[in-house]
């Protein structure tokens, strides 16, 4: 409490730039005057009395410095002064400053970019419930090289039939197709083919209607589609009656 109080007073002094210089000077002058008077009464000459009095007081500059240090926050004060000094130096040599600023800007930019990429691809968990349980299964070729994330349909159904490790399995492939909605002009859309397990794996529910289920997974089932939210907005203006 005591320390806090003192800190606050010092901080206020620092911020308001309030200085007890005048008060200290007056007090010291008074001090010397009184001591000199006492010396004169003890029989010294006036000059000698003042000289002795000043000597006894000690070095005024040192006292003032000490007083100052008690009054404000020397550390902060130094920081402010250093900052001012460096700013002044920077203004003196704008070329150098520019180079330094650019170097730092590029450095920071590069670091942030790399971090952003690393974070989103490696560090951040997927925005799905229990995302730590979601894994990707990659196939390998006979020669042992990766198949680049590709897997044939039969292979997937083999895995699904023998699965004892996963609560659900999803397969999907990217597709680019043409959409002709009602009497509108055909538009090019990016899509993905997926099985019913897709929405189980990611544990997501549709805003409207339903997602794929076992009926859609059956061979020769009627063609069905699940619209993404941006697709719904862009192609159908977010009309809830599209279904």
């Amino acid at each position: 409490m005591k320390t806090l109080n003192r800190f606050l007073i010092r901080l206020r002094n620092l911020v308001t730039g309030q200085r007890g210089d005048q008060r200290l000077r007056e007090e010291l002058e008074d001090h010397v005057a009184r001591e000199a008077e006492a010396n004169i009464q003890a029989g010294m000459s006036e000059e000698e009395a003042r000289r002795r009095a000043r000597m006894k007081l000690g070095a005024t500059e040192a006292i003032r410095e000490q007083y100052h240090a008690e009054e404000g926050l020397p550390l902060l004060e130094c920081l402010v002064q250093d900052t001012r000094f460096s700013l002044r130096q920077m203004r003196h040599s704008p070329g150098f400053t520019l180079v330094v600023v650019l170097t730092m800007a590029l450095g920071i930019a590069a670091t942030t970019t790399i971090f952003t990429v690393m974070y989103s691809t490696l560090l951040r968990s997927l925005p799905y419930p229990q995302s730590e349980r979601i894994v990707a299964i990659h196939d390998t070729r006979i020669t042992g090289r990766s198949a680049g994330g590709l897997m044939t349909g039969p292979r997937f159904y083999d895995i699904a039939a023998r699965n004892r490790s996963f609560s659900s399995l999803a397969i999907f492939y990217f597709d680019e197709s043409t959409l002709i909605a009602g009497k509108k002009l055909p538009v090019y859309v990016k899509g993905a083919g997926a099985n019913a397990g897709f929405w189980d794996v990611f544990a997501t529910a549709p805003m409207l209607g339903r997602v794929f289920d076992a009926r859609d997974d059956a061979p020769h089932a009627p063609q069905t589609v699940v619209l993404s939210y941006p697709g719904w907005q862009r192609l159908f203006g977010g009309d809830p009656n599209v279904i």
Binding site: N5, R6, E26, L28, D30, H31, G58, I63, Q66
Partner: protein, 117 residues
Amino acid sequence: MFTKTKKDVQSGTLALMVLKTLNVLGPQHGYGIARRIEQISGDKLFVNQGTLYPVLLRLEQEGAVESDWGTSENNRRARFYRLTRAGHKLLEAEKRDWEQTAAIIARFFEVKAEDLA
């Protein structure tokens, strides 16, 4: 300088002396305090007297003393320092600490080799 036999006072000790002086004499200006410390210590302490003022400021910021301008006996303006309630408490606490330390040190000096055998 020419007073090698006299000792400069550490500021902590000086603060304690200031508190005690104000306690005994009541409100005093800086010079009065310095004078009294000098008298009591029998001129054995060379208070580099100016160092008193930073100590007073510190005590004031800690709330142990209050100060205000006033007029002294010969009608001159001077800043008077007065012990606050917190100052009284601080003095008591410091006094106890000091006596304890002094007692311990004294015991160490009294010990002779045969006492430890």
